[in-house]
């Protein structure tokens, strides 16, 4: 047994993961089921030399963390459905401004205020497409408390490395459950720091629109003076209305994530080798899926599970590879419409081979429901 195993809640692991990654600025507005993260930040950040700011709403929270990140602090916020909706417009600023931030969306049951304390996975599409304007984003979804910690560290790393907002989207089950885990020692997990720009300060440009390029970000207050704007802008950060520039700008926002795909897209496979039934899941349903698959295999059925640790960019290649011999793909998720199933269906010729297992009443998905779909 490891010595330092502790009982830790998912939301707690997220907060500790953020501190481990070097986050020192949190701005938020309390909302169930994410509020534990705010409470821990208010308790711990002063001692870590950081700031906890309770803003007047989620629009302000998102604005504040973007400002704080540009001024040099690794910054994040945590919320749930209603607050995440309010954050969308300003989240778009972090995308066009290429500002590293982490947004935790502990998914709860909607629509609207919905079942405020119950789990869901109905924000996947909002995370991907919730803002106006075409853009790309990274989203991760943990399935264990340990993953809450690790993925938060990863989220900050990816945010810095690709100068982009990263959304961590646990469902309420994972945010609120407690499991034993060992908090990693400093140095055990890699932590990515902002790379200092090189060259003459006067020549500094905050952006580079070459395909796949991620340009180093200076901090406000350093010798490099720079502009960031929500408007269409040139590499110098000033407004620029030329169509040629706009085309390069929008393309680069996408291609920088394409170029980093191998780094960003993470999946884990469980017995997918030669499986006839593949279960594709993310978040809490991964656990039910693995449990159901284990029972099915005990009965001689060839059932594998592919866990989507990264939800966006969607792990298309990984799913296609895992499904090579599959005759059926089962996608369990806590929403009505099959937000992940729809993406999986795009990857196969025979649309009927994708079976959905959905829960949209605030209740979790049990292994028995998946077992039924396996039969």
């Amino acid at each position: 047994m490891k010595k330092n195993q502790r009982l830790i809640q998912g939301n707690e692991a997220i907060a500790f993961g953020a501190f481990y990654a070097g986050a020192r600025f949190y701005a938020g507005y309390p909302i169930t089921p994410s509020s534990e993260i705010a409470e821990i930040c208010s308790r711990e950040l002063p001692g870590l030399g950081g700031f906890y700011m309770q803003m007047e709403d989620e629009l302000a929270s998102m604005g504040a963390i973007i400002g704080a990140s540009l001024a040099g602090s690794k910054s994040f916020t945590a919320t749930s459905g209603p607050g995440f909706s309010l954050m969308q417009e300003n989240l778009g600023v972090a995308i066009i401004g290429e500002v590293p931030i982490v947004v935790i969306d502990v998914q709860r049951s909607g629509p609207s205020t919905g079942l405020a304390t119950k789990p869901a996975q109905s924000d996947f599409m909002q995370i991907r497409w919730g803002r106006h304007g075409d853009q790309a984003i990274i989203a991760l979804a943990p399935a264990t408390v340990r993953e809450c910690f690790e993925f938060t560290v990863l989220a900050f790393n990816l945010a810095e490395k690709y100068r982009t907002p990263v959304v961590l989207a646990p469902d309420e089950i994972i945010g609120h459950m407690r499991e034993n885990m060992e908090i990693p020692e400093p140095g055990e997990l890699p932590v990515v720091e902002r790379t200092e720009p090189q060259g003459e300060p006067a020549d500094y440009r905050p952006f580079c629109f070459k395909e796949g390029c991620v340009h180093p970000l200076a901090n406000y207050g350093s010798e490099r003076i720079y502009h960031v704007t929500s408007s269409m802008n040139g590499e110098d950060g000033f407004s620029n209305n030329s169509p040629e520039n706009a085309a390069r700008r929008v393309a680069q926002l996408h291609t920088k994530l394409d170029a980093g795909r191998e780094d960003i897209v993470m999946t884990e496979s469980f017995d997918v080798e030669g499986c006839e039934t593949l279960i594709v899941a993310s978040g809490a349903p991964v656990r039910a899926a693995r449990s159901a698959a284990k029972d099915a295999r005990a009965k001689g059925l060839k059932v594998g599970v592919l866990q989507l640790k990264t939800v966006w960019p969607f792990p298309e290649l990984e799913i296609a590879a895992a499904a090579k011999n599959a005759r059926r793909i089962i996608v369990p998720e806590m929403n009505y419409s099959g937000q992940l199933a729809g993406e999986v269906r795009k990857l196969v010729n025979d649309k009927n081979m994708v079976r959905q297992v959905n829960s949209y009443n605030g209740q979790i998905i049990f292994p028995a429901q998946i077992a039924q779909a396996i039969q």
């Binding site: 001692g47 700011m53 803003m55 704080a68 720079y226």
Partner: protein, 275 residues
Amino acid sequence: MAHATGMKYLKQDALPHMWCAGCGNGVVLGALARAFEELDLAPEDIVAVTGIGCWGKADDYLAVNALHTTHGRALAYATGVKASNPKLRVVALMGDGDGATIGGNHLIHSARRNMPLTAIIVNNYNYGMTGGQFSATTPANAFTSTSVGSNPERAFDICELARAAGANYVARETSAAGMKLKNRIKEALEAPGFSLVEAISPCTTQFGPKNNMRRPVDMFEWLKAKGLPASKYDKMVHPEQEGFFKTGVLVNRDAPDFITRYEAMRSRMQAGGRE
């Protein structure tokens, strides 16, 4: 000392600016740049945070750090910049729609928090950029593109709002008085805690023509006639004050700002003020 021009703080290759002939924004921008110069601020230590609107485009002309944000939210972004690096001098440039209407909530909470920022609100009594619709500062009964039968709503007094919400420094001038404006902005930049300067300014394309001030000069004359220093304004009794506004320094106090209070809380916690 040579007369401050403020040129060092302006992005000269971006000039001339895009604002309409007679618009007061240029005057306010000039006053801001001169205030920076007279205080000898290093451009790298300044962050200008702007919202969306005509005045919200001021960052296009500034050679300091800048963050052009969303409509109404400049103060929220500015709050994050300041808390993240309290050494920075942070100014939020907003129109009356931006700063006091869609962003009214952030205005009162920034003042309540006494966040050490300087808000410079150019109040041209309407949404200039989108074609002159009424805002929360459009006077009652005024005509705008969305109050063609006269404005049925009442107006906010931005300065009174900031005072009531707890701002340390509040002043109002008009863009017809550039020198005074520069002095007020200087004082605001030096004030501890939340400071706000309201610059009443003509919208010569939208608001003026719709309200019987066809030529730009009509609006400037109107501003000069209506803005009264406290010495005159306070002598008038209530119904006479109608239609006039008070200029000069309206609030000047030094309540501890947010960062100071946060640091005090941090020290208490570190001294064992928690379980």
